[in-house]
Amino acid sequence: MAVLDMRDVSLTYHPSEGPVPAVRHVDLSVDAGEVVGVAGESGCGKSTLISTVLRLYPKSATVDGEVLVDGENVFDMKWNRMRAVRWGEAAVVFQGALHSLNPIQRIGKQLVEPILVHDKGATEASAMKKVRELLDQVGLPTRHVNAYPHQLSGGQKQRIMIALALTCDPKVLLCDEPTTALDVMVQAQILDLLKGIARDRAMGMLIISHDLSVLSTNCDRIAIMYAGQVVEQGPALDLFQNPAHPYTRALMGAFPTIGDGESRYAPTGLPGDPPFPGDLPSGCSFHPRCAIATDECSTVNVVLEPVGPGRDAACIHVNQGVGAP
């Protein structure tokens, strides 16, 4: 059963310059024990997508569709219920490299806080005991409860963020760029840790990253986002070996393949920048940067359509078999 189910989710920001549709009609679900990755360039709406799950977007933003956490639509919740769902049902692993921890509070206090808020039966002592256990589980010495954030390295802070997300035993874990700004060795350790946690605790996990290669080796399924939409999704391995959407292929071309000497010399990359969500191109949002775009692409509205077993892509050429490999 899906612990997180997003149905036709849209989110629009309303700055004074005019509406900015940051997420548009996204369908995505995560089963218990499943790891789903969302990839895309910065500004494609992936972080905004995560913010819809716990309604962490600014008050002025408007949302549409449904986000079901364990079968319950968060958009319909009263604030009291919403606060209980926050961390209790779904928790976020924020980027540890950012200032996601309060700089003037000891780690222990910050980890104990959600337990005391959500578990009415918990005492200061029982909560602290649990925090120590969690630190141990994420591979940190328990004396770190007395440390301040600035005394820890980036990797250690990321482990703290993971321990923090686990404090209330959530059913869904949302990981927002959990490995960005960490060096490669530490990245691998963190991802192993996250995978292990998802497996052991049978929780659903959504990982967001701009690094497709990180996701492909660690996720069961992957969704590719572009300009606020999911443009392709499917089983991780299959999608990685056999990308259908031209954007996915361009994204892969940006990373050289290990063992393929040629790819190192010809990183294809992608010209230009992603469009500003407040000023999207007509038709397929990707067509101005697309290598195989035709006139039709600037007029036809593209939607996700099946392109294989468990695979969907939003491109008229793929669907007609033109661009498929």
Binding site: V92, P103, Q105, E113, V117, H118, N146, A147, Y148, S153
Partner: protein, 351 residues
């Protein structure tokens, strides 16, 4: 202040060894070391002030003997000794000064008493005024700043920012004059409620109930003038820091944890945002000790400010020199306290 650059990468983040040893997180020793170091630089500043004080007053024009004799009854021998001292070479005078930087035997020319006795007489009044106005300014200013910053762009924010900017631009003694006009003289429709001269009714003993009431009554207007101006300062700074903190990532973490709005504000945003305001409050306390001159003058309030003004009027240089030293030291001391308090709250400072 060794404040960490915002957005800068801390050394810890660059640490290649993932399990690099954590600094021993012991609050006491860190704070102790910091305090010791801070005391040392404070002493350095003090030394500068002493030297500066000496040479500045040396450079003053006029006959130094006339200034130092003042209203003091002085014997012929003492006078000769004083003259000899004043005519000795500069380095010798400086040496004598360094031996006795407080100039304990220095006499005020207007009051004919030792300068430190004169200062000790006026100090309690200044402390009463300072304490009342700082308390008011701090509580009200911080409250306004928190509320305005948290609800940025709200009606409360717009109104309070407008009013506080206006107060920030107001000379405190002018506000004092207005308060006298409105609440002391029975001008127009306002009854004269509060007294506007001295700090206590004449002939009252400050240690009686009547005396205390009279003191409180006399403190209202001068304290209000000072508080109004300084609360503007505090609320503007507090608001700006609140707005800065609102964009910080750790507040998003706090919201995601499911905390109530109030818990986020009190537990996370306010403690972080209050650091610059706390620094400013302590700095200002140091400055107001010597800076309430105009307000004390307007209200004839017999504190250190009025004393300074009288010393200026009468060219009482020994007293002025002592006041100069006292004010500088109070700024240095409160500066130091500010740094230590901040270091106690913010672990990043005490490195």
């Amino acid at each position: 202040m060794a404040q960490q650059e915002p957005g800068g990468v801390s050394d810890a983040a660059l640490d290649p060894t993932e399990f690099g040893r954590v600094q021993r997180p012991s609050r006491v020793s860190g704070i102790g070391r910091f305090t010791a170091r801070r005391l040392l630089t404070g002493l350095g500043t003090l030394a500068f002030v002493l030297v500066f004080n000496f040479f500045l007053f040396q450079m003053l024009p006029g006959d130094p003997l006339a200034r130092y004799k003042g209203a003091r009854e002085i014997s012929a021998e003492d006078l000769a000794a004083l003259r000899q001292e004043l005519e000795s070479p500069l380095w010798e005078q400086f040496f004598n000064y360094v031996k006795d930087p407080l100039q304990l035997d220095s006499y005020s020319t207007i009051q004919g008493k030792p300068v430190w006795e004169v200062i000790a007489d006026a100090l309690p009044w200044t402390l009463i005024l300072l304490g009342t106005s700082t308390l008011l300014a701090t509580v009200i200013g911080i409250w306004i700043g928190i509320r305005a910053g948290w609800n940025r762009g709200s009606k409360f924010d717009k109104n309070s920012t407008g009013i506080t900017l206006f107060l920030y631009a107001t000379p405190e003694f002018w506000l004092g004059l207005l308060l006298i006009l409105f609440f002391s003289t029975g001008f127009w429709i306002f009854p004269g409620i509060f007294p506007s001269g001295s700090a206590i009714g004449s002939g009252l003993d400050p240690w009686t109930v009547d005396g205390v009431i009279s003191i409180a009554w006399h403190t209202v207007l001068p304290a209000a003038s000072l508080a109004a101006v300084y609360l503007a300062d505090y609320s503007l700074i507090m608001r700006a820091s609140m707005v800065d903190e609102l964009g910080q990532d750790y507040l998003m973490t706090a919201r995601a944890k499911g905390l109530m709005d109030r818990a986020i504000r009190r537990g996370h945003a306010v403690p972080n945002a209050s650091l610059p305001t706390i620094t400013l409050i302590f700095l200002n306390i140091g400055f107001i000790i010597g800076g309430a001159i105009t307000v004390e003058t307007v209200f004839s309030y017999p504190g250190l400010g009025l004393l300074t003004w009288n010393a200026i009027q009468a060219d009482d240089l020994p007293l002025l020199q002592a006041l100069f030293l006292f004010f500088s030291v109070s700024v240095i001391v409160f500066n130091m306290i500010a740094d230590i308090v901040i270091a106690a709250i913010d672990p990043r400072i005490r490195l």
